[in-house]
Symmetry: C2
Subunit: 322 residues, 2 copies
């Protein structure tokens, strides 16, 4: 473990795999290594892929990875699935295709399960991406299922977010409205060989045209018009266009200054999250479940009030002078 | 201000109004008063009303308040609208009806705007409800617009949550699927005089029947089957049934032990939120915007790493020994 950082930087895949495990298991040493790795990270283009179950995310990611390999990139994939720690949520065919890719020494694939508190998954994903980034993987794909708060938080780690919809999944489009629209950079309608693909494209385009935040308000500034692209895995169509769009989006982020702006915003929220995480850990360390039980009972029985209990806990963790 | 607690407990509406303002403006003294008030609170039935804009929430709340007044209750209303601080989101007619009610000395209505950080609105709402509760208002209605994270958090303060849908708002039902279903206790289809009301009732009933978490698994335990009720403000129909259902739900909560269980869970999350809020305040106090700017730049330029910066901030706020 001693020279894990050096080995990782030298391209040792086993060192990277080990680092990811340390991060997943929240081993304190991981932080020390990540602090060292930070200076070597920051070069990768981080691409998020999200969508409802069955939308065809894993298939799309597999094809994207192949296309990037053709373009001679060293590609990382983090598949985040809060629902299924074992299968990664992907169906068998996808898993087999993914495994074929993982035989390639310039492809690194890792699936991660959700555990612990809200925000924990986003923090672990950020750390795993940092390790892959330092190890020279670029681009790095993050694949998530669904559009819950956890997944949206994970997606905020990405520079470019792809939302995948299958034809005829009208429900999906409604779900997109609810949460994911604001973070989407590219829409991909998968399974374009199936009937209804063009209608789904039309519906998505309509949805986008209705969103006032997505309009070009200032003609003199760089502007990103969200494309709605079609892919067919069976006919092997549309993949190069998606990779082109991803690269164009990155160019837009650089040109518009958004890349730097986003990086700054993300750094601040990461530091705040680290501090809050430390607070939660301190609270856990200083307050047993029995202590909590007693405190909660004192408050519900009106012997004590929540404010004085909070003050007491703040003193315990050193936040407030007694 | 000195005897504000005493005056509030004696039913002085101006003292209550003053307290709400102190809470909204986050005046430190408010905490001291609320700590005193806590022992007198805990009697009110807290009823949340949520739904998409235009679903008819304000109209429903107005009619509910009238019905409760007929039943001789002293009624509180907190209208929370994160989007529109001025109008409270309600259309003029609703505002006028609400104002008519507010002339009644046994009705207390207050609208609150969202401000500050995520979770801040839920905390202020909880405190305002605590003050109204101590002042003897029961039930207390909380009305929110939309189903974002903030609103769902506010709704968690309520014992009984009503979700309002207007007929023919198919989109709404999809949005409900996404987030609000898990916290709904009663569905109300408003504007039942309009076409499509029965279909909306059927769709909602179908949606509920598909949710496995809502089935009665243990026949020996108290069980709440979410009702789907119709109201018509124009025809003045269905309101007594809704108030009856709200009271039945409260009886269910008491009988099943859920009321006590929820109270305990809420107390713990309130205390944790108070501590985290104190941390955020400490961070703000000890780190100016210029400091943040410098720290963020050091990290993005790779001179420093986020972990050591977080450690430094933790030391600053006393959480970690230097």
């Amino acid at each position: 473990l001693e020279n894990i950082v050096e080995r990782l930087l030298n391209g040792d895949r086993r060192a990277l795999a080990r680092m990811v495990t340390l991060i997943e298991n929240e081993i304190p040493a991981a932080r020390r290594y990540l602090a060292e790795l930070h200076q070597y990270a920051g070069r990768a283009h981080i691409v998020g892929v999200t969508g409802a179950p069955g939308a065809g995310k894993s298939t799309l990611v597999t094809h994207l990875v192949r296309e990037w390999r053709r373009r001679d990139a060293k590609v990382g994939v983090v598949a985040v699935d809060p629902t299924s720690p074992l299968t990664g949520g992907a169906i068998l065919g996808d898993r087999i295709r993914m495994m074929e890719l993982s035989g390639d020494p310039r492809v690194f694939i890792r699936s991660m399960a959700s555990r612990g508190s809200l925000g924990g998954l986003a923090a672990s994903t950020r750390d795993v991406v940092r390790a892959m980034d330092a190890a020279g993987y670029n681009p790095i794909n993050i694949e998530t299922v669904g559009t819950g708060q956890d997944e949206v938080e994970v997606m905020r780690t990405a520079h470019t977010v792809l939302v995948v919809c299958a034809p005829g999944m009208g429900d999906d489009i409604q779900a997109i409205k609810a949460g994911i629209l604001e973070i989407a950079d590219i829409f991909v309608v998968s399974k374009a060989d199936k009937p209804g693909a063009d209608q789904t494209v039309a519906e998505l385009s309509m949805l986008l045209s209705l969103d006032p935040t997505r309009r070009q308000h200032d003609k003199s500034r760089p502007y990103w018009k969200i494309p709605v692209l079609k892919t067919s895995a069976i006919k092997d169509q549309g993949i190069t266009q998606v990779v082109d769009a991803i690269q164009q989006h990155y160019a837009y982020l650089v040109e518009s200054g958004m890349l730097a702006h986003r990086a700054q915003r993300q750094v601040r929220s990461e530091v705040e999250a680290l501090v809050l995480h430390a607070v939660v850990n301190q609270l856990k360390a200083k307050t047993s479940e029995d202590d909590w039980q007693k405190l909660v009972e004192d408050i519900t029985s009106r012997e004590r009030d929540p404010y004085s209990v909070a003050n007491e806990l703040e003193e315990k963790i050193g936040l407030r002078q007694p």
